[in-house]
């Protein structure tokens, strides 16, 4: 998946598990950027009586680098605390929840938002609390408990000082992928008949359909994110590009008390992070995944070999014999002579000027996993879910919109579609440009902030 249960350690700590990250110029207000960080993979909507919620003991952060060093210049921190109204019932709610102050709502979460700026020179941090005791809406239980959920959840969209907005709560999983097939030896159902172990070709099955996640969505003026407080309009200006990633951290020490409670102590230690989709999932090998999650992006240089010669690239001709002859020929040459510098650029440094006409999202030579967004590029009037490779520069890998088909984009890129950008003599295989897992998100998306659809309800939902 994008980054769901992608590493051994974090798969055991779902509350702190980054699942997806989106960043795009807001289509309803192009003076702003929307950033969405999702956590908690594969929430079964009926998972009561203790439904999913953010971790009170987790520090959630969205980080932005605006000067190309892959070190955060602007950070938004989110901390949650749970309020238990009546400890003498087992119920999450004792009647319909019809407002955010409903006395029937027994277990609620409030949260705070803090903006941290890194000043130049000495690296000193300046902290500004943007909001406290903001309400996270209840989970979507069913028609008796949460009867008009969209109206209820919309009440939890909060305004921040300076013109921003924030939402933190449960949403439909907007990322779509055929989990059941891909993790069955890299099979893509539409091409099942061509697999090394063939099965009939069929349409894809969205493995995340009917599941929820917990979302932190932030909409802020562009000028809050740029290095000089400007509103960039020149696509080719390096100041127009920001790098975004999200993290979750836990305190170093945790003590389990004999009354069933826990106490934490010590500094915050990063346990999960996410910039581009599928990096830790597919590019980083098992033995390095936990370490990758704990590392800051500016220290990603060690992982350069995984971008230059990704394992999946080498598997494709094996899993699909005869389907990728040009890729197979390329892979027969020494690895040192065929570095995938297209992937290094797309996923590691941003795409420099001169590679794609009229476009760049280059942050410098330092390889770092950040979702790079050129905020001078306006939203597309007719978005293409294939983003830049579909001719739409407002989509992935220029940031990432909620509907972008990142699985197909990255499959096609790894299969060689983007290699001619740096190796003009290479001719991609015909199949490379057709690769897809055949999925889409049946629930669709909202047209306005926070863009991810209202969550699936426990009472009535279905999986693919």
């Amino acid at each position: 998946m994008s980054s769901h249960r992608e590493a051994p350690e974090i798969s055991k700590d779902p509350v702190a598990d980054n699942t997806d990250l989106y960043a795009f110029v807001d289509p309803t207000d192009a003076s702003k950027v929307t950033i969405i960080a999702n956590y908690i993979p594969l929430e079964e909507p009926a998972g009561g009586p203790n439904f999913f919620q953010f971790g009170d003991d987790v520090l959630y952060e969205i980080k932005i680098d605006n000067d190309g060093d892959a070190i955060e210049d602007v950070t938004y921190q989110f901390r949650f605390r749970t309020i238990l109204g009546n400890p003498n019932t087992f119920l999450y709610n004792t009647g319909p929840i019809t407002s955010l102050t409903s006395p029937s709502w027994n277990m609620r979460q409030l949260y705070s938002v803090t903006r941290v700026l890194r000043d130049g020179g000495d690296g000193e941090r300046r902290r500004t609390v943007l909001g406290t005791d903001l309400v996270s809406p209840p989970v979507r239980i069913g028609p008796r408990s949460t009867p008009d959920y969209p109206a209820l959840a919309n009440l939890a969209i909060q305004t921040l000082p300076g013109g921003g907005r924030v939402f933190a709560g449960q949403r439909d999983e907007g990322f779509y992928v055929d989990l059941g097939s891909i993790f069955d030896l890299g099979a893509l159902r539409p091409f099942g008949n061509l697999h090394l172990l063939p099965l009939p070709a069929t349409g894809g099955k969205d493995g995340t359909k009917g599941y929820n996640v917990h979302t932190i969505a932030l909409q802020v003026p562009k000028s809050d994110l740029t290095r000089d407080g400007s509103m960039p309009t020149n696509v080719m200006d390096p100041r127009s590009v920001i790098g975004v990633w999200a993290t979750a951290s836990r305190q170093r020490g945790r003590v389990r008390r004999e009354d069933g409670q826990n106490e934490s102590a010590g500094g915050w230690v990063q346990v999960s992070r996410l910039g581009n989709p599928l990096i830790n999932e597919v590019v980083i090998p098992l033995g390095k995944k936990d370490g990758w999650n704990s590392r800051e992006p500016y220290r990603d240089a060690d992982f350069l070999p995984q971008y230059q010669d990704p394992e999946l690239q080498n598997l494709l001709p094996v899993l699909y014999p005869g389907v990728f002859p040009n890729l197979a020929t390329l892979l027969a040459t020494p690895a040192a002579t065929r570095s995938r510098d297209d992937l290094v650029a797309i996923l590691g440094t941003g795409i420099p000027q001169g590679v794609v006409g009229g476009f760049q999202n280059f942050t410098g030579a330092r390889v770092a996993d950040m979702l790079r967004l050129n905020i001078a590029i306006p939203p597309s009037a007719s978005p293409n879910t294939f983003g830049l490779i579909g001719g739409d520069a407002a989509g992935f890998p220029n940031g990432r919109r909620v509907a972008d088909n990142v699985v197909a984009i990255e499959l096609r890129a790894i299969a060689g579609v983007t290699l001619p950008l740096v190796r003009p003599t290479y001719k991609p295989d015909g199949a490379a440009a057709l690769l897809t897992d055949g999925t889409s998100n049946a629930e669709g998306y909202l047209a306005t902030f926070p863009y991810l659809q209202h969550p699936n309800e426990g009472y009535e939902h279905s999986h693919d």
């Binding site: 170093r252 106490e263 102590a265």
Partner: protein, 88 residues
Amino acid sequence: MKRRALLTKAAAGTAAIGLAATAISSEKVERLRDAAQDLGAPIVAYVTDAAKGEVVVMVGDSEVVRRDAALVARLSAIAKEARDVVAS
């Protein structure tokens, strides 16, 4: 090493450190106890490198790394006692 011998050795180490501890006045001990209570949160000590005498002391969301060979030696001696209790 037999358990009795280990206990004796551990006790000797503890005693050596205990001598240093007796040099602290009861008034100072009282002040230290008050300071710990004022923190209002559990204190966790994590010996990261016993050979270097390195210990991380954590409280709330703060932590400090100290090189304090005497403190680490004392904690190590107590840890040996704890291990022995579990083992017995």
